[in-house]
Amino acid sequence: MTTLAGSRRLRLAALLTPVTLLLGSCFLVPLGIMALYSFLTPGLYGGVEWNFYPYNYGRVLGAPLGDVEDFDPVYIEILLRSLRLAGTVVVLTLAVCYPAAFWVSRFHGERKSFVLFLVTLPFFASLIIRVYAWMLILRPTGFLNLVLESAGVIDAPLQIIFTEVSVVAGLVYILLPFMFLPIYASVEKLDPALVQASEDLGATPWQTFRRVVLPLTLPGVIGGSLIVFIPAFGNFVVPALLGGAKVMLVGNIIEQQFLAARNWPFGAALAMLILGTVLVLMLIYVLRIGRGGVAAGAKA
């Protein structure tokens, strides 16, 4: 017994060590460097000077600072705008993917494999190229306006490109697969017998959905929402190309700090603030919805 448990533990350690080392060196160490840099003095030409400099966070959050940095509410505004945009993208991708996942799960055999292949197909082309394609679709003389005009839906071309609408459209398009796949995985696992049982026991379709289907697919919804929210929050390519860089988001301001402004510590501080915001929101989301779902399931 002891030797068996011992060898098991040994095997587990052997299996986990490479992953732990990889995550430790490629994830935690860079994160630690960023956290450290956010408290150092910016170097004149990028990089840092090794002097303690606690003012970056106050510049964003409004703590008393002395004369070194000024508090500017503009950064909070950018953070809130990014949150709102990422939230919109989550809701829209969810609205598209949730019904679609049920639809795809009804297919069988090759047809199902083919649809799943189509979902992952965009990954074969570079993100930048796909975003440029959207510029061609959305511009005034582009494909969308051409179709709408020749169909008589509109008289003059719509100005969609370089607006917030096109930023949202671009992000939704890019992030759809990330919402679809986790939802699909949990819909696949949903046992039809449970749905039938609920109906046999006299539940209305809405009750069946609310008490059986939703709680059981909730892990996929939570997973998908998180995987979509995080990149939507920090993305800077789509706002720059499709939004015409007129709407600044956190990703853009961080890029500006590291490149044009050569202020790495402030960029690092903003990145830490994003990380903190995402962690807090994730915790709230998972606890609230996770618990709500379990409670609803238990009641059923």
């Binding site: 030409y45 503009v74 005034p140 003389t141 370089f162 860089a245 500006q256 490149l259 044009a260 202020n263």
Partner: protein, 339 residues
């Protein structure tokens, strides 16, 4: 890396498969005629590779991170000064080579390198306005540009570039684009913000949109002449009456360069008029080589937007390194982009 760059690297690698030496170039995207790399590789039996960057700061960040394996970089003049200050440049003394006589001494613009002991001036250009002639018959000034935008909102674009776009505000207010005066920079910020509702986008990716008429005019650099000369009935490029910024890049060898001898040969090679002219013909920008104009086709040599007369040149300003004062621009630009 652009498709063109990838092609160059492949073709040169193939042509010089048995090359003795190597040369690693790190340049702006699409900023050198591929024929030059091929020619250099053949002549010196060197395998030439080319990587590209999109901004001075991107290049600086990479070089500062340590030895990169790159030999030659193309900083703008103010970045040439920064690289000098940080001790990242190798003193190759191109000014002692015979070809240096061809270089226009007025092009030795870097304050840190007034004699050309480190870098060779490469090429220069202006940042003005490219516009679609079918939409706007004539456009001469920044005032015309903003007046047009007021009547046709969202049909013009400006560059997504902190100093260039705030620079337009400074120029229109008659100030230096290197102003360190917070009040002047604030006034430039307010000017751009005032026009922002009429500006379609802040972007570099605009030539296809102007060509198709989706956008009617765009703040853009003289590289637009490549497209203007191809479609002279549709496109035009103009240096605005109020003045404009100009840029110049220099060819510098890094202190950490692994192939210094070849890099030095490359600096010398680029000073040859017959090599330099290949670049000017392809890039359609300003030359710094006094022997080149005689070799240029008339449509480039006599084009006032590529080779402006002295009266126009007097109105051009070049960016200087602002050191710590850059932060005033950062804050102003963040406000422009957010409000």
């Amino acid at each position: 890396m652009s498709i063109r760059t990838a092609f160059v690297v492949l073709c040169c690698a193939a042509a010089t498969a048995h090359a003795e030496g190597k040369l690693a170039l790190y340049n702006w995207g699409d900023y050198i005629n591929p024929q030059i790399l091929e020619k250099f590789g053949k002549e010196y039996d060197v395998k030439v590779s080319l990587d590209t960057y999109a901004s001075n700061e991107e290049m600086l960040a990479k070089i500062q991170a340590g030895a990169t394996g790159y030999d030659v970089v193309w900083p703008s003049v103010h970045m040439h000064d920064i690289l000098s200050k940080l001790g990242l440049l190798e003193k190759t003394e191109p000014n002692k080579l015979p070809g240096f006589a061809n270089i226009d001494k007025a092009a030795l613009r870097a304050k840190s390198d007034p004699k050309g002991e480190y870098c060779v001036p490469y090429a220069w250009g202006t940042v003005g306005i490219v516009y679609n002639k079918k939409k706007i018959p004539q456009l001469k000034s920044w005032k015309d540009f903003f007046d047009y935008a007021a009547k046709n909102p969202k049909k013009v674009t400006m560059l997504d570039d902190m100093r260039e776009t705030l620079g337009v505000g400074l120029i229109m207010n008659g100030k230096s684009v290197n102003s360190r005066n917070p009040a002047e920079i604030k006034a430039a910020q307010d000017l751009i913000l005032k026009h922002k509702p009429n500006i379609g986008a802040f972007t570099y990716e605009v030539i296809p949109l102007v060509q198709s008429g989706d956008m009617h005019a765009a703040h853009y650099f003289v590289g637009a002449m490549m497209y203007v000369l191809e479609k002279p009935d549709t496109l035009a490029y103009v240096i605005p009456d109020e003045g404009a910024t100009m840029y110049q890049e220099d060819i510098c060898v890094l202190k950490s360069a692994p192939n210094k001898a070849n890099a030095k040969k490359f600096q010398e090679f680029m000073m040859r008029p017959e090599v330099s002219v290949l670049n000017t013909i392809q890039q359609k920008n300003g030359t710094v080589n006094t022997k080149v104009p005689a070799l240029l086709p008339a449509n480039i040599r006599d084009n006032v937007n590529i080779n402006p007369p002295a009266s126009v040149r007097a109105k051009l300003q070049i960016f200087e390194d602002l050191g710590a004062d850059l932060k005033v621009y950062d804050r102003a630009w963040t406000k422009v982009k957010t409000n």
